[in-house]
């Protein structure tokens, strides 16, 4: 057995490399600087027949093997890591599940244009509370007869919003954990499907990453991918393959950095000779080359396993983890070899250095890769105790909130109800603070999100702030991208934290990082036109409506006709806590000792899983404290 690529492989490598060098390399720095997406170039790449490399020709693909695909990702990444992942996410994540699990109709409708590169694909699994643990999926798809109604958010989605076709994972049976997850094909442009904030990333800035927001999106029944409940299996199988792509991306970035450093080391003269001939530097290069070689062998052999339908899940995890860990070391040493020059913007090693980091994180962090590998080696752990769930329902990111929606009557009436509620809570709108009070010191803030619309609407927000006696704030994109307010006025985990009393969120959807910045607010008011916006679940009071209509009405309702007097020192208004609800199930109590069986806890001693209802306990189950049988229990 000769461990070598074929001539065809190398021919393909040449083709992709040439494309990358001529089309991408010249603009790579600019894409990095501007967060730009190489749309034209990707279109061209598609026309070259390279967006569907591993798919059969009859479905519009190139009919090549998995290794060819790996080589293509490697070569694009060698020039620009961001462009590499556009291809990887498109082929492995957006397209493969349709190829592997789609019906013939689905393949005709979706696989063909994807494989031809006419459309771009993406994969939506990750959520606020479902990162490494997909079991936390909260997006739901409810069966409505001829369609599913999709609601929820996906975060960090590569190729969004550029992609046309999204494979999205949602729970069709929220009680069943991962077994309740199903996969759906969702098209951009469908009613209720919008995109959230673009992310300002450390690296791979030419790859677009955004949030997917589903608001009562009707997904036709025929767009269910696979069967109901198979979603988790589909996602895991997809990620197995995707890992070959990410490993190749890491390899490409490392190769690019290595070549760059090698070139520089041979040119840069210090102490009378090129630094490459300093043993310290040459050893670095030797180690880098070795790591590249081992990574490459690992990736190609995994690609071959996949191509030949051999099990490859563990090997893919090894390849992804190893190549990306090596990549970190290689880019680090490459930059080191450049010395001070490597630290400057515009140097490719500086970009490689930043681009590399994501490869140890996405498509399963390297910790998770090790979990996968270890599971293959040591097998399943002994029966695991599930953690005890707290009796109280878990609250949103902002903690327990009143969640009162005013949706009765006209807009004026809703606003009047809101004002009445606020006054009852003790807010005095005859006093106020200057609109430019620093967020951290403000007692009240009127904050705007992207829902504010065009800049002229800021005047409405400012008027509302004035009448509410509040300072003005915003979500991150409004400060950063739209630049309606100065950067130091955006609220969120990475921005300013609001710890005062009243927070009025206008047109803010409620991204996790934003919510974390307002969790200490006494009262959160949300105004948003999307009833499913996360902000409502995290608010005390909510009005669904257009901010353009509601803000002026609210400003008017709060107008006392007099200028606001300056507010006394802030007294923190206490937060309301929701009343506890009795559990919707019964406890059972032992006649022999008073032991209480709580299904939420189960019975560890008898290996009864938490969540097991009393009725479902095996007949031979006994009281763990005194040994009485099931029939000696009474319902509490």
């Amino acid at each position: 057995m000769l461990y070598q690529t074929t001539e065809q492989h190398e021919a393909l490598r040449q083709r992709v490399r040439e494309f990358a060098e001529t089309e991408i390399k010249p603009i790579a720095f600019q894409l990095d600087q501007t967060n730009g997406f190489p749309a034209e170039q990707i279109e061209k790449f598609g026309k070259m027949g390279l967006m569907g490399i591993p798919y059969p020709k009859e479905y519009g693909g190139a009919g090549l093997d998995v290794m060819s695909y790996a080589i293509a990702v490697e070569e694009l990444s060698r020039v620009d890591g961001g462009t590499g992942v556009i291809l990887s996410a498109h082929v492995s994540l957006g397209t493969w599940p349709i190829f592997a699990f789609g019906t013939e109709e689905q393949k005709q409708k979706y696989l063909v244009p994807l494989a031809k590169g006419e459309k771009i694909g993406a994969f939506g699994l990750t959520e606020e509370n479902a990162g490494s643990d997909a079991g936390g999926t909260e997006t739901v798809a409810v069966d409505k007869g001829d369609h599913y109604l999709l609601n929820g958010n996906k975060i960090f989605i590569t190729n969004a919003p550029k992609a046309d076709i999204y494979v999205v994972f949602a729970s069709t049976d929220p009680t069943a954990g991962t077994r309740g997850i199903s996969a759906f094909i969702v098209e951009k442009g469908w009613d209720g499907f919008t995109f959230g904030d673009h992310y300002d990333k450390l690296g791979i800035r030419s790859s677009s990453t955004a949030e997917l927001i589903f608001n009562n999106v009707k997904v036709p029944k025929e767009n269910l991918l696979g069967k109901e409940g198979q979603g988790f299996k589909i996602a895991m199988a997809t990620l197995d393959g995707g890992r070959i792509g990410i490993a190749s991306q890491a390899l490409g970035i490392a190769q690019g950095a290595f070549e760059s450093a090698l070139g520089y080391a041979k040119e840069r003269v210090q102490f009378g000779k090129p630094i490459a001939f300093q043993q310290a530097i040459s050893f670095k290069l030797a180690d880098m080359a070795t790591m590249l070689h081992t990574s490459r062998l690992l990736i190609y052999s995994t690609a071959e396993l996949k191509e030949n339908h051999e099990p490859y899940s563990m090997e893919a995890a090894m390849a992804k983890q190893y190549a990306s860990d090596c990549c970190q070391k290689i880019v680090d040493e490459a930059l080191q070899i450049y010395g001070g020059s490597g630290f400057l913007k515009g140097m490719d090693v500086e970009r490689f250095y930043r681009d590399s980091k994501i490869t140890t994180i996405y498509e399963g962090t390297n910790e998770i890769q090790r979990v996968v590998i270890a599971a293959h080696i040591v097998g399943k752990p002994p029966k695991q105790k599930s953690q005890r769930r707290s009796r109280t329902k878990t609250a949103g990111a902002t903690g327990p909130r009143k969640n009162i929606m005013f949706n009765e009557g006209s807009n004026e009436e809703k606003v009047a109800q809101l004002v009445a509620a606020l006054e009852k809570d003790g807010y005095d709108f005859s006093v106020g603070i200057p609109i430019d009070t620093p967020i951290a010191e403000a007692e009240r803030v009127v904050s705007v999100g992207k829902g504010i619309g065009p800049k002229e609407n800021m005047a409405l927000a400012e008027e509302l702030a004035k009448q509410a006696g509040a300072a003005i704030g915003s979500s991150r994109p409004v400060a950063e991208t739209l630049q309606y307010v100065p950067l130091e006025r955006y609220v969120g985990m990475s921005g300013q934290k609001f710890k005062g009393n009243l927070y009025i969120a206008c047109g803010i959807s409620g991204a996790g990082q934003h919510l974390k910045g307002i969790k200490d607010a006494s009262t959160i008011v949300a105004i948003n036109n999307s009833p499913n916006a996360a902000i409502f679940k995290n608010a005390d009071y909510g009005i669904v409506g257009n901010v353009k209509d509601i803000m002026p009405l609210l400003a008017e309702a709060l107008d006392t006709g007099k200028p606001k007097e300056s507010a006394p020192p802030m007294v923190k208004i206490k937060r309301a806590r929701p009343k506890k609800q009795a559990p919707d199930y019964n406890f059972y109590i032992c006649n022999g000792c008073g032991y209480e069986y709580d299904k939420e806890l189960g019975d560890e001693a008898s290996e009864i899983e938490p969540g097991t209802p009393f009725e479902k306990l095996p007949d031979e189950w006994m009281c763990p404290k005194c040994g009485e049988g099931k029939d000696e229990f009474i319902k509490a």
């Binding site: 206490k574 937060r575 309301a576 008073g594």
Partner: protein, 402 residues
Amino acid sequence: MYNVRKVTDDLYWVGANDHRLHLFENIYPIPRGVSYNSYLLLDEKTVLFDTVDWGACRQYLLNIEHVLDGRPLDYLVINHMEPDHAACIEEVLLRYPDVVVISTEKAFLMMTQYGFEVGENKIQVAEGDTMDFGKHKVVFVFAPMVHWPETMVTFDTTNGVLFSADAFGSFGALDGKLFNDEVDFDRDWLDDARRYFTNIVGKYGPHVQAVLEKAGTIDIKILCPLHGPVWRTDLGYLLNKYDLWSRYEPEDKAVMIAYASMYGNTESAAQVLASELCERGVTNVVVYDVSTTDVSYLISEAFRVSHIVLASVTYNLEIYPKMLDFLNQMKSLNLQKRTIGIIENGSWAPQSGELMSKFMDDMKLMDVLGEEVSLASSLNDVSYRELREMADAIAEQINGKK
């Protein structure tokens, strides 16, 4: 000298009072003493219901001897095996060797554990079994966990007497007055009856409910508990209290302020709150110092009131130990359905508020008011305002919304 009282024509109280015991179960203070009730039925057969604590044995034996007046003792019914009622079984067996003991399987097992040799002279009864003693016919009804698992109650279907074991009992010595209509129960007994029930059987609310349900199907005329007065009038009054207590429903719309204070600053805040509440018309307010009040009294009050304000200093980053004791006891007795106010105090790193809130959150159906008060060493303008807000919130709930 014997000391007995007639309950009905042929039923006698042959129990005893105890004022020398300081701590019942070696834990509950009983300043008013306690009675151990036992009853003797003179039918065609003679039937003794339960015995007494060892400390009262001599009086008890004199009483039996007197009432039997030379007749043999035919049966001893043991409803409950706890030694405050069962300690004298052995002595009865020695003096009346032919007596037949009637009890449950679990109780007989316990007799063996305590070393009481019953031998062959026993009748093991099952739920619903009946026995005829001549004129009187009784039915045995199991009452598991109405204190202990072996417990049963015995109902005399002839005269409507229920021998109810620990249920419906109370701390307090009878001192002659056997019947509920011979005392001012509300004034002199209710608090001790509550303290007895909540501390001793409080944890087993659902089991008490099960017994009350059974009781609802029979026509009880007289309640003969193992401690405290015999009930022969107004039974509904006591049954209603038991129903509330065992469902963990508050008895009164009232506020209990329990404070833990080393130097008096928290105490002062507790007192200010009490005044503020009264100013708002909420006068059913009680204030307790957890350091000097035995926890059994705190528990009893916690079962009575609808609102509990916990005011505690932070003590080495923890809840003050005496307060924690109270909280632990509430939790282990399963108290629920109360509204809780939290007042914390601390001079450098106040923690008690959060810890107490968390503690309450982990209990069943305890609702913590959002209006929490945080004292930095002592009440100041800001915390005083918080305190008034708490008073507002409590008053609004108790007085009804304005």
